[in-house]
Symmetry: C2
Subunit: 376 residues, 2 copies
Amino acid sequence: MRVRVVKVPLGDRTYSIQIGEGLLARLGPECRRLRLGNRCALITDATVARWHAPAAEASLRRAGFDCLRVTVPAGEKAKSLGHLEDCCDQLAKHRLERKSFIVALGGGVVGDLAGFVAATYLRGVPFVQVPTTLLAQVDSSVGGKVAVNLKAGKNLVGAFYQPRLVLCDLDTLRTLPRREYRAGLAEVVKYGIIRDAALFRRLEGDLLRLLELDPATVAAVVARCCQIKAEVVGQDETESGLRAILNFGHTIGHAIENSAGYGKYLHGEAIAIGQAAAAWLSQRLLGLPARDADRIVDLLQAAGLPVRLPLPGARRARLLQAMKLDKKVSAGEVRFVLARRLGEAVWGQSVSAAPLDEALAAVAGPAPKRNRTKRS
Amino acid sequence: MRVRVVKVPLGDRTYSIQIGEGLLARLGPECRRLRLGNRCALITDATVARWHAPAAEASLRRAGFDCLRVTVPAGEKAKSLGHLEDCCDQLAKHRLERKSFIVALGGGVVGDLAGFVAATYLRGVPFVQVPTTLLAQVDSSVGGKVAVNLKAGKNLVGAFYQPRLVLCDLDTLRTLPRREYRAGLAEVVKYGIIRDAALFRRLEGDLLRLLELDPATVAAVVARCCQIKAEVVGQDETESGLRAILNFGHTIGHAIENSAGYGKYLHGEAIAIGQAAAAWLSQRLLGLPARDADRIVDLLQAAGLPVRLPLPGARRARLLQAMKLDKKVSAGEVRFVLARRLGEAVWGQSVSAAPLDEALAAVAGPAPKRNRTKRS
């Protein structure tokens, strides 16, 4: 299979995303081609390390790099300032210098933490993303958002810091638990909703092939998602406008993650519920056709993702509270990304308390509150 | 007294340094003029808070800002990732948003910590530096270097993040302990050595007026130092070359701070010893006239700064070890900034073990090892 290359156009910080099979073996030569320094640290988690660290390190060593492995615990709890400090302490102990570089090998958690390490250790060293989950490949590894969590919420401390290369080895997806793979599909569906109706239709048609990890389908879909993200990030790196559309489903999704405690829902699962609620709001407030709101919920469900959130009144209040801590809050008002139609999202939509509460009630019910009757 | 204004020319991130008396009262109106958001956090330390926080907050409130005070302990230990987390937790708890801003009120420690908070909280919020020590006014508040320490060394985790404004209120220097004021003079002397022989001569002539805080002398000297720093930072923001000259005396100075444990020497004191050693190396390796090397040591001493470091052999080895952790190390080699003549420094000078050891021996002796005999 050929390697697909997507450029993220950011002036002198432009970089490539490579998408294909067997790319781990190319990690060393690609880092060499970028003229990175001779020493590096491979930051990974305990789970990913078992599967993929030996191949990554072998490739780096064959290319002549001196490579330190730094392993963090698997799971969201690694995204803390404490783990940032642990990582930096290890880099300092091994005398990594400004010309040394960091390789992030893992999912979104590893990429976010390792990227923030790279952004801040010695005030910034180069880094390379090697995402090993679908979610990281189509979303978190691209675009330079890196961060750790605070008690008060996700990603509240971080930076915009671009990698020098993103290497998406599709083979790594085969070692991914099914649940995590499906969670990644939530972000894939998002790209269709916010920017590409044709992609959305393709997902509806190719969902089985995608769920079966058919190589050609996965490659094409991952590449298309990366292309959309690259386009958006190229136009608005630091989220002063357009980039906000990437947060479709995320305002409610992050609040679900925060108020449920990290770990109960995977990020993609929380985002799926958030997208179902955002679809409801889009229909109510922006005239998204009811049929399309249904298609969103249907596709997420067909991908095996949750779209309901059974929520007693007290917990709904906690959820609304969590939403107010979102980084997208402006002057105390929660702003939403909503879809006008499939393939077109608008950002900065202020939503008052009443429809927001209704949207949460709509996704809280035991049976889907569907528009389907209107279609028959 | 008129307010002196120095511009730091960094494209769309250009900002002003204002230098004068009574400027704390102008903090609120200046922030308003910059169209910063309505909410801010004033980060300060316990000591500075007593003296200056009420005036700063009163000015901000009069200008209509809602202001949260965040107080960290006084001293170098506040520059930790733990305190970064404490600060960010407080900002999150009080719902500071992306448009909110941070005011750093204090010396170098507060500026470095608060600046790093501003650089990373919500991936970056605007910030304003209000330096209250001489060292912070002429050096650390200008140029956007922000950082915290690791166990392994100073400033090993940080960012380049520019303030929107620097307000140097010369009145605040009157509340400064004499020892800290003198420590700041070490950086002042540095500017003369690396970039401005006329400033150096002026310092030799005006030292008493400077030590007595004569307003006109202090204003002129602080403004000239800021001008030099602004020029250098404007040409090389991220220290890929020229900016390194600002580290004259710092390679050894940082190592002294690290190996002595933070707190024994003030930064400026360690830098003074480092400059004495660098003067020795400059004379030996770069042909700095012996007379000028003496003038450097004399001026530092006349300012009440240490220029000797009594150091048994075992501790000298620890010092050399600490030096290898410096951020300026490249390919394992310690690089120095040295002076070719007064007013002209060169960076990236590799110094082998022998002369480095001799330089440390030279500053270790009980009596100054002077060239003065050659002058008579």
